[in-house]
């Protein structure tokens, strides 16, 4: 399993790996929003939690179709399925690798970009925590969606349509936690619900992903 994780990380950072794609997208969206909305800090700081969460969600979505498509095309997926590695474990590792190359950089970059949107100072800690808890769920749900569309050529559109509704709860609770943090309210309820979504998706979706992959490999 470690070998698969290391291989995926290595592939992501090498030429053509797509590492940084999500991060660049995140940066562009957040930098452009003040130009579109106008420079009033009151407006910006009110919409900042939502913008930051929507932008990171879309950035995570951007690289989902690479999770299995490349391995499917070059035959690695069939070889992995016949290897001693359980497919459930491979699915979890794939989600983890996606999170390390996408969710984690987004989480670390978010506070700096929150500054551009004049996010309330009290909210920075909650922005970091909510993204840290929430983005793994985005990767795991996305991995499941990627498995569903793995055999399809240009399955990206279908993948987005399938995955976006599943992302909505995470988005709602994530943005809510940051907003409550900014308003000085107690954000623990939203954070816990989001942690529940993350834990639940990591508990269940690897099995669903493996089952779907087996069907798609036939």
């Amino acid at each position: 399993m470690i070998a698969l994780l290391l291989r995926d990380l290595r592939l992501a950072v090498r030429a053509g790996g797509g590492f940084g794609l999500g991060l660049a997208f995140f940066l562009i969206v957040v930098v452009l929003v003040p130009f579109g909305v106008g420079p009033e800090t009151a407006v910006l700081s009110r919409i900042a939690p939502g913008i930051l969460w929507v932008a990171s969600l879309l950035a995570a979505l951007l690289s989902l179709d690479r999770i299995f498509a490349l391995d499917y095309e070059d035959g690695s997926l069939a070889l992995l399925a016949t290897s001693p590695l359980p497919l459930e474990g491979a699915a979890m590792i794939k989600a983890l690798a996606h999170w390390i190359t996408t969710g984690l950089p987004l989480t670390l970059a978010a506070p700096a970009l929150g500054f551009l949107l004049s996010l309330a100072p009290e909210a920075y800690a909650y922005l970091l925590i909510s993204l840290l808890i929430g983005t793994p769920a985005l990767s795991m749900i996305g991995t499941f969606g990627a498995a569903l569309t793995v055999g399809l050529r240009r399955g990206g559109l279908l993948l987005s349509l399938l995955v976006l509704p599943l992302y909505v709860p995470t988005l709602i609770f994530g943005a809510e936690a940051v907003r409550r943090g900014a308003d000085g309210l107690d954000p623990n309820g939203a954070l816990m619900l989001m942690a529940g979504i993350t834990a639940g998706s990591f508990a269940l979706l690897p099995f669903a992903t493996a089952a779907v992959l087996r069907i798609n490999l036939r």
Partner: protein, 204 residues
Amino acid sequence: MLRVENLTCARGGVPVLAKVSFAVDPGQALILRGPNGVGKTTLLRTLAGLQPAIAGNVSYPEDEGAYASHADGIKTALSVTENLKFWADVHGADLPDDILDTFDLADLRDRMGGTLSAGQKRRLGLARLGVIGRKVLFLDEPTVSLDAFSVKLFADWLQNTHLAAGGVAVIATHIDLGLAAPELDLTPFKAAEDARGGSDEAFL
């Protein structure tokens, strides 16, 4: 070591082969013959467990099967050694020292997968079989895009290393590998064409 009884397998839900039975003893290879579309690939994928059989039994020691097709699973952004090391790690095996020499890859060890020629990629894909240490090999057209010299290299490895160590191989191929192995023509096992227009449809 490998025993197949009354196997019926399907491609895209349409049965292509019915009631295939054969057995392969340790140290033996079996060559599958038959025209394009008869179901050689389908049979091999079913044997390897990538798709379920409609009926019949396949038995070989658990966790000993390995499948290889024209899609080698080679990562273009990894070097030759890294590609092999990955599959060795996944299978919990060590990289044998002589494997690169056996498949004439020693000079290419640090080349990226993407810069290899088709034949070199094929040799790398076959070298994977020598790394993972599995006893029962299901090989689908292993010699595509190999030159005569490389075919000889591969046949020698198969005969002198894999089969000599008690391994088994089922090989679908159109050329003569020079192995002393029985051949099985799949044409007589072709499933009756059904009303939906026959099996070819599923391949398109």
